[in-house]
Symmetry: D2
Subunit: 353 residues, 4 copies
């Protein structure tokens, strides 16, 4: 029996750049022939959502806008072309809501590089509403035994760090340094790295983070960037042969950590930048980069296959991502805290409240 779909729904709407966000009733949309309508149960709140609200990225948003791109829910309706997604399936709506599927990049499994992307909560309405549209070919499949609140943040942060680790080219048994290991992305990165058979050096600061990295998140070594007298040497010394990690994942790129990474990474190693700080620059000395043959790479979000793999690691119980649930109606409060830098873990919105 097909689910009953209401005509109206609760949503959080940005009417103008800068906000505030408006919690109100809006119509439930109807999917086009290649789309599905997803009853979002839970949606994570991500820093990118704050950028969408503030309009401080080069790319303009749709307006009015329903934000959100980490939505987990249940398919309630589908267009007539859709054959592989069933009503009742659990799916995730991600940052990449849709892509053309036929450009050079889509043809090569690089759909995040599609020049005509649909971006959830940015160029199309996102997951901060009860019923959200997504392209059927792009929704992530979520096994039914996986809790929809817990998986929500994995749909953005988890996939992104997993992609970064894949892009690094590190192989099982090799070492990876995670810069910003104690944060949200960093703690996910450590766990994915471990699940992939990698050995991890956590780089962050403070005894609490050190303890967490070493005892819970799988790091075999920890370097405190604030107290280290010689960060480059300390990171290299953390690998048995002293040559440094095979890859470095920078989850929060600033110039200094980046330069240091280029220095302590092993010859032939790779430095991967994740995250999108506006205005920041990579900077590395040519002489040393050439002599050591190092590679520097930007990694954006995962493609559909990366997403499926990242979800599978989570479904196997190998990844823990702490979160707290509040009602969709409380989104402004979450934005306010985020703006002040007061958020420790991840907030997940329950769209029924």
């Amino acid at each position: 029996m097909a689910p009953t779909i209401p005509k109206e729904q609760w949503a959080q709407v940005i009417e103008k750049t800068g906000g505030p966000v408006d919690y109100k009733k809006i119509p439930v949309p109807t999917p086009a022939s290649d789309e599905v309508l997803v009853n979002i149960k839970f949606s994570g709140v991500c820093h990118t959502d704050l950028h969408a609200l503030n309009g401080d990225w080069p790319l303009p948003t749709k307006l009015p806008l329903v934000g959100g791109h980490e939505g987990a829910g249940v398919v309630v309706s589908r267009g007539e072309l859709v054959k592989d997604v069933e009503i009742g399936d659990h799916v995730g709506v991600k940052w990449l809501n849709g892509s053309c599927l036929s450009c050079e990049f889509c043809q090569q499994s690089d759909e995040p590089l599609c020049p005509k992307p649909l971006l959830s909560g940015y160029t199309v309405d996102g997951t901060f509403q009860e019923y959200c549209i997504a392209k059927a070919a792009h929704v992530a499949r979520i096994p039914k035994e996986v809790p929809l609140d817990a998986i929500a943040p994995v749909l953005c942060a988890g996939i992104t760090v997993y992609k970064g680790l894949k892009e690094s080219g590190v192989k099982p048994g090799q070492w990876v340094a995670i810069v910003g290991a104690g944060g949200g992305l960093g703690s996910l990165a450590q766990q994915y790295a471990r699940a992939m058979g990698l050995r991890v050096i956590g780089i962050d600061t403070g005894d609490a983070k050190k303890k967490m990295c070493l005892e819970q998140l799988g790091s075999e070594a920890f370097v405190d960037f604030a107290t280290s007298k010689n960060l480059v040497k300390d990171v290299q010394a953390a690998t048995p042969d002293g040559l440094g990690p095979h890859a470095v994942i920078l989850v929060a790129v600033n110039e200094k950590p980046f330069q240091q990474a280029a220095e302590y990474v092993r010859p032939r190693g790779t430095v991967v930048c994740i995250g999108l700080p506006a205005g920041a620059y990579l900077r590395a000395p040519v002489f040393e980069s050439v002599i050591k043959m190092i590679t520097i790479k930007g990694s954006y979000v995962g493609n559909r296959k990366d997403s499926a793999e990242a979800i599978e690691f989570f479904a196997r119980g190998l990844i823990k991502a702490p979160f707290q649930v509040v009602g969709l109606s409380e989104l402004q409060m979450v934005y306010d805290k985020m703006q002040k830098g007061e958020i420790a873990g991840r907030y997940v919105l329950d769209t029924s409240k």
Copy 2:
């Protein structure tokens, strides 16, 4: 019949950093058990030799020093462990005179990254002499039909650009931009790229270079960086779909060309830096690098296999490298011209004069 080896030979010797270079008689050395003695017939002169003379790189040189690392000659003697190189074989002595062959890097065919390298004309005596020592496992094999004067510059410049092209990961039919296309490295890079089935955009300045690139060296498009109103757009427009080249080879890295390369390279593309300008920095915006998932790589000299391949392309007649021959005794003159930036093509020294 074994060749007669004299006790003494003519050589160009640097007694102290800064020069001058001293043309005089010195003893002919004897190869150790894993070495060969090569009667150098011709040796190219390279910018690196000037750095060795001037001592302006971070790494100190041996002193007194016989410079030179582009030597082509004939094996006249060998140590008792040497089985694969025969007396009379034609071989090349390259920048990497020897390596440990057992470290992690040597084990992975990355012998240029060996932490204990022997560098010809830098940490060991090089090819600006009649008889030069080299590790047998490292000499390049030169087919006997190849002229030893013509091959000399290929042993450094040719191998280096070929390696850079390989490192770029571009595949036959794809586009590569060569920045500095009209110079020595650039003109070799274009020819190797063509021989590898690549399509080439030459970037340089002046009508003479444009003509040479398009008519002789194999570029299908040329962009003049001095007269272009919008270099990024012009380079991208040179590819049929306007997305830009799949890779960029920077043979002379400066900050501005580097930043531009990061801008015009195709999403998922690679920017390869060749050459070792002291004090220069790579610099690229994080946001765009991540969104486009671009890769930036340093490429040093080729390994032994790269060298063999680069020589084979040359031996097949696919690569032309203009040069002029002067006597070994005239090296100081070559250095003087190089210092003043007055060298157009490549100088090759005839050790018999």
Copy 3:
């Protein structure tokens, strides 16, 4: 102005397995929302079409069936979801008429492995008619300067051999042996190999084929399998170091040529099987395969990106594929010749006759 589309059209229809094929008028179909209608101008005739007619493959065909999968034509109509293909665009309809675009294989650019493929002229009506339906995301883009009759056979044979060469992993400057070099697939394979910077050994029989391979198609060596006293040695001797080719492309797999290929391929080399002989087996000795670490691979048709690349090589004038044009009405004659093995080059049907 939109083109006028008739209600009826001429087509060649197979009513029952075994044929004959019936030249008659049938309705012009209407594209679904993600499809285009292509006015086929020319269509190649391929051995696979004969298998479809005879029903001698494990997979059953649609019935009644319009065969053909090498169609080149002009887009005359499109479904409402189609945004990237314009009316008037020149496109090719290939064997893979459509795929789900969302399964594991489609997600990884392996759409030919999609478990729900639409196969032109096999499970859906193909190109032996004036107006053919195809999924918009799957049609091949053909530049307008490329003649539609000449490109037709490239859409199947050309792409297939190009894919096989890519799958072989051979790199510019390396050697590839083409077994069956003088036939249709083989002659295309040689030309693609050359355009990719590879060196080619043609293997076939007869002086006419030898001459054609060496003088027109780009082989540097030719081995006649009928007159060679020791095929394995002769093929290995054709490479300068006597170690054999880095890859072998078998365009017509039989057991004996396959076993020989496994013997003469270079250690670490790859043997690629193209083509689908029913009932044939690969067979290779384990001991030698392990000791030499050889790879044996099956290669099916190209994906969309491979197709675009193969067409681009053709459009650049690097590939010549001889063909003769007859009317669509004469298809039965072509089948008859094919059945008797009397076809030398490729037949291309003009749908207007």
Copy 4:
């Protein structure tokens, strides 16, 4: 202080093909300039040693011969060229005792494919003696905390299965089937696969092996080839999506298991053959291999880097290899049991007894 090296030592010597092996005193050899002398403490006994004794492989052995190629010991002397191995270092002597280090294959880290290999216990004297010679560049480094008896079998079997897993190309999170999972190679393969982040299907027969695979060795699924009604379906069903494992490792190749592997492996998957059964053949249907684009690969022994990695996994405590120690003097008894197929685990010889 340098260790005292005796003039004579105990060794097990094969005087003629077919044996018996003779336990007697022979001179202690002296290392050449690029060699080390290793005081072997423990040596594993491998099936290959039986082939060497029986002379039933195509390649003839040295005679008289000291067998053995899984020796772990202490360096007691070295040639004058050796700089990276110190007296007192713990090292392993492997099947590949030495290679030329300069051929095409050695240049590409494929030293096991060197056409001039020195094979321990086969073409040069091996590890069934107290003092064994090995090329310094080829000995495996063993950390001092690793027990020399336990590591001995890893030096052949462990490295070989690890190499096979690497060659398969499977990535963390993907599925690999191990055929012969309950045997010596198979049980190591499972553990390495787990340590590499892979998911494992064990294929073997019997409840004891099933229990061991699932409870101790890390398999997530087990298929009993003797009781399965449809092995192909059962193996495919063991993966969540029913498409079968991404790779299959065949540790004991016979025709039937091989054909089945080609059938149940996932499209685009890889079947890797390890082990050297004389006279066995690979056999797979062309049609299905092409349609599924599967890869079949032979994998020989690991190179030096693979060896170091495999030892590192073992040193981290991730791999358990059961063994029992007997005296070197008891080798004939071990051969006798092996000949009768009566060996369950691995025998390791203590050279001091």
